[in-house]
Symmetry: C2
Subunit: 501 residues, 2 copies
C-alpha cells in the first residue's frame, strides 16, 4: 500500500506540475509576454496540457487507483487517502471517458467559433455564428453522451463546474429564486434610483490600485504567497498553494471597476491560499466547485465589500485618498451609489440584485437548447422576450443580447453559467452561518478587523480543498443544504433599508 500510494502521489504531482506550468504560461501571456511570443506560446500550452492529459489517462494510473482503493477506504471515508483516491478517480474517469478524437475536434471547433464571435459581436451579426453555435449544442450533447446514463443531458456538463449538482437540483433552486427575485427587482426599480455620479469622477490609477491592495491585505490576502498584476480581464490563478496570484484592471473614471474587482479576485485567492497545505501537488489542492469558488469572491466583494459596516470603517480612508472626488460625499450617498440597482441588459454591468436573473435566464436557455426545445435560430428573440419579462428591459441589439457573453462561443453549451448564481446563494448562506457563530462580526468589520470571518471561512470552507464536495461543505458549515432563503433575506434586508420598501 505505502509504495503504491507514494507512486500514486508522484504521478498526480507530475500531472499537477504540468498543469501548473501551463497556468504560468497563460499568466505570462496575459501579463508580460511580448506579442511575438504568441504563436509558440499557444503550442507550448497545448503540449503541456496534452502531456498532462496523457498522464491522467495512462492506464497504469487507473490500475494503481484500483490497487490502492481498498486500503484507502479502510482508512475511513473522510481520510486523506480515501478522499484523494475518490477525487483522482473522478478526474481520471472524466478524462478517460472522452475520446481524444472528440477533445481535439471540439478544441478546433471552439477556436473557430470563438474567432468568429470576436467579429460577430461588434458587427451585431448573430447569423454569422448561428450554424457553429448549433454545432456546439450538438457537440455538448455528444460530450454528455460519454457519461451516460444520466438523468438529464445537462448533468455531465453541470458536473464539470459544480460536481454533484444536477439540472433538476439547479432548476428547483432557480425556480424558487426567480419567483422571489422578479417582484423584488420590480419593487426596487420602482423607487428613485441611486445617484452614482460620485463614482464617475477621475480617480488616478495608482491610488485606485493602492486602496484595493490595502483592502485585500486587510481581508487576509497573503502577499508573500501572491501578487497582483494588470490584465485586460481580471482573474485569479494558482501555481501552487504558495503562489496564488490575482490580476486587476482599472478605469480612470469609474471607481468600482478596480476596487470591487480586486476584492472579488482576492476572495478567490484567499480561498486557495487557505487550502490544507497537506494537499499540495494533489488534485485535492483546488477549489471544490466553481459555485463554491464564486461564493468566496462574492462574499468578500458584496457581503463585506458593499456592506454598510465595512464602509463605516473604511470610507474615511477612501476619502483621504480621494479628497477632491469624495471629500464632500457623505457615507450614506456613497453607500447608495455602490449599491445602485438598475435594469440593464448586460450581465457583467449588473448589480447584485438583478445579476441572478441574468444567470437563470442563461441556464434555462442552455437546458432548452440541449433538450432541443429551443432552436439556436430562435435564441435572439427568446432572449429579448425573457429579458423583458424578468429584467424589465430588452437589449436593443443581439450584441447586447445573446452575443454578449463569451461562454457558449468558447466552450460547452450547458453548465457554463449556474455557478455564478449558486455562488451568490452560498455566499449569503455562509455569511449567515458565520454571523450565528460570531454575532459581533459586523462590529469587527466596521473596526476593520476581518480575521474572525476569514478564520471561520478557512476552517469551515477553505481548508477542505476538493476533499469535500460543495454540498458537504455547505451542509457542515451552515447546518442546512443550499437554499435561496439566506440570499433572499440578505437582499430584502439590505435593499429594503436602502430603498425604503
Amino acid at each position: 500500500m505505502n509504495a503504491d500510494f507514494e507512486d500514486l502521489q508522484a504521478r498526480l504531482a507530475e500531472h499537477n506540475d504540468l498543469l501548473s506550468a501551463a497556468m504560468l504560461l497563460r499568466w505570462d501571456q496575459a501579463t508580460y509576454m511580448p506579442e511575438g511570443g504568441n504563436a509558440a506560446r499557444g503550442r507550448q500550452i497545448a503540449t503541456l496540457e496534452r502531456l498532462a492529459h496523457d498522464r491522467l489517462t495512462d492506464p497504469a494510473l487507473a490500475r494503481l487507483l484500483d490497487r490502492v482503493t481498498p486500503a484507502a477506504e479502510r482508512e475511513g471515508d473522510g481520510s486523506f487517502p480515501a478522499r484523494l483516491v475518490r477525487v483522482a478517480r473522478h478526474d481520471v474517469d472524466r478524462a478517460t471517458k472522452v475520446p481524444a478524437k472528440f477533445v481535439s475536434a471540439f478544441a478546433n471547433h471552439r477556436a473557430d467559433l470563438y474567432e468568429r464571435w470576436t467579429r460577430a459581436r461588434p458587427a451585431n451579426d448573430f447569423r454569422s455564428v448561428a450554424a457553429l453555435l448549433e454545432k456546439s449544442v450538438e457537440m455538448s450533447r455528444e460530450y454528455a453522451g460519454f457519461f451516460a446514463p444520466f438523468d438529464h443531458v445537462a448533468d455531465p456538463l453541470i458536473d464539470l463546474a459544480d460536481p454533484g449538482m444536477r439540472a433538476a437540483s439547479v432548476r428547483t433552486l432557480f425556480a424558487e429564486l426567480r419567483g422571489e427575485m422578479v417582484p423584488l427587482v420590480e419593487a426596487i426599480t420602482r423607487a428613485e434610483p441611486a445617484d452614482d455620479r460620485c463614482l464617475r469622477e477621475v480617480f488616478p490609477e495608482a491610488d485606485q490600485l493602492a486602496f484595493g491592495i490595502e483592502m485585500a491585505t486587510r481581508f487576509g490576502y497573503d502577499w508573500k504567497r501572491g501578487r497582483q498584476d494588470k490584465t485586460h480581464h481580471p482573474f485569479m490563478i494558482k501555481f501552487s498553494l504558495g503562489d496564488v496570484r490575482i490580476t486587476t484592471r482599472s478605469r480612470p473614471n469609474y471607481l468600482p471597476e478596480a476596487l470591487f474587482g480586486t476584492l472579488h479576485e482576492a476572495g478567490h485567492a484567499i480561498y486557495e491560499q487557505n487550502i490544507d497545505p497537506r494537499y499540495e501537488a494533489t488534485p485535492l489542492a483546488d477549489g471544490t466547485s466553481a459555485g463554491l469558488h464564486e461564493s468566496q469572491s462574492r462574499l468578500w466583494e458584496n457581503l463585506v465589500g458593499r456592506s454598510l459596516p465595512f464602509w463605516k470603517g473604511q470610507y474615511p480612508r477612501l476619502q483621504e485618498r480621494f479628497p477632491a472626488q469624495l471629500g464632500g460625499v457623505p457615507l450614506d450617498a456613497f453607500y447608495r451609489a455602490i449599491n445602485r440597482v438598475e435594469r440593464l441588459p448586460i450581465r457583467t454591468a449588473s448589480d447584485e440584485v438583478t445579476y441572478n436573473l441574468h444567470i437563470i435566464m442563461r441556464f434555462d436557455f442552455e437546458v432548452e437548447l440541449l433538450e432541443g426545445k429551443l432552436a439556436v435560430a430562435d435564441l435572439p428573440e427568446a432572449w429579448r422576450e425573457r429579458s423583458r419579462t424578468d429584467l424589465g428591459v430588452a437589449p436593443a441589439t443581439d450584441a447586447d443580447g445573446c452575443l454578449q457573453d463569451v461562454h457558449w462561443y468558447d466552450g460547452h453549451v450547458g453548465g457554463a453559467f449556474q455557478s455564478y448564481a449558486l455562488g451568490n446563494l452560498m455566499s449569503a448562506q455562509f455569511f449567515d452561518a458565520a454571523l450565528r457563530a460570531h454575532p459581533g462580526l459586523p462590529e469587527e468589520i466596521e473596526a476593520g478587523r476581518f480575521d474572525t470571518l476569514r478564520t471561520w471561512l478557512g476552517k469551515n470552507v477553505h481548508t477542505h480543498g476538493r476533499a469535500r464536495s460543495a454540498d458537504e461543505i455547505v451542509l457542515a458549515a451552515t447546518g442546512s443544504p443550499l437554499s435561496p432563503a439566506p440570499f433572499l433575506g440578505y437582499l430584502r434586508d439590505k435593499y429594503g433599508a436602502l430603498y425604503g420598501l
Copy 2:
C-alpha cells in the same frame, strides 16, 4: 521519409516546449514570483526537465534518427534535414551516454556544494568546501568517462559549452593570448590610470534604464519579441524565437552597471532574435556555442559600446539625460573612464584588457585539477601565485580568490570558463571582418546607425543557429580560423591610443 521526418520534428518540438516552459518558470522565479512559490517551483522545474530528458533519451527517438539519417544526408551536408539530424543526434548521444543515476547524484552533490559555498564565501572559509569540491573534480572526471575515448579528460566538458573545441585547441589559443597579454597589461598599468569618478555620481535608476533601452533599441533589439525586467543577476532568456527577454540591474552610484549590462544582454538577445525562423521549435534554434554567444554580447558591449565612435554620437544624449552629473565632463574624459584598466583580483569587476587573464588562469586550473596535477587543497595558494604573476595583484582573501566564482561550486570543474575568453577573441575577429566588408562602419556607428553591422552579423552569424558550428561560422564569416590576433590588434590600437603606449 516525410512522415518520419515530421514525427522527428514533432518529438523535438515537444522536447523544446518542455524546456521552454521550464525556462519561463525560471524567469518568473527570478523576476516576479512571490517567495511562497519557491518550494513548488523547484519541483515543477525538475518535473519539466526530467520529462524533457525522458523525451530526448526515448529509444524510439534514437531509432527514428537512424531511420531518417540516410535520406537527410542525401539532401546535402548543409541542408536543413542533414543539420537537424546531426544536431539532434549530438544532443541525444549526450543525454543518453550519461546514466540517469549519475545525473541525479551529481544534481544532489551540486545542490549541497552550492549551499555550502553560499556560506563559505562570505566566511572566507575555503576548507569548508574543499572536500566537496574534490568530489566535484572526481565526478567531472567520471562524467568525461562516459564519453571515452577522448584526447583529453577535459574535452567532453569543454564540448558541453563549446562543441568542437578541445583542451588542446583552447590551450594553443590561450598560450598565444597570454604571452602577449601579460606584457600589455604591464605596459598599460604602468601609465597613469584613468579617473572614473564621473561614473560614480548618483544616477537615478529610471534614467539609467531608459538610456539602456534607447541604446538596445538602436542596436536592433526587437521589443515586440522581447522585454526587459529587473533581476539580481542580469541574463538573457528565450522562450521562442519570438520571445527573447533580457534582464538588468542598476546601481544608483555606478553608471556602467546597468548601461553595459543592458548592451551585453541585448547583444545575446539580438543573436537569438535573428536565428532563421525556419528553425523554430527545433534544436537548431539556439546559439551554437557559449563562446560564440559571448562574442555577440561582448561585440555590442565592448567593440561598439565602449568605442570612441559610438560615444562621439551618443555622449551628447547621455549628457542630456544626466546634465548635473556629466554636463561638465568632456567626451574624452568619459571615454577614458569607461575604459579604465586596473589590476583587480575580481573577474566580474575587471576590464576588457585584464579579463582574459582571469579566464586563462581558471581554465589552466580546471585542466590541472582534472589531470590530477593540482590538488584542491593547493588551489588557494596556486590562485594567489598565478594572480601575482599574470595580473600583478594577489587577492587578500580566498573569498576574493578561488571562492569568487560560482561556476565550480554549482557545476562541473572543467569547461566552465573558456567560453568567456573565446567570445572576446571572436568578437574582435567578427568586427574586423565586418569592417573589411563595410569600411564605413565607424562613421555609421558615430551617426547612431547600427543596421549595417547588425545585418552583417545576422547574415553571417545569427541566422545559422546551431545549424553551423562556431568553427564553421568563424571561418566562413571572417575567412580565417579563430585566432587571438584580431583581439590583440584591437587592444593594442585602442589602449595604445588611450594610454599613449
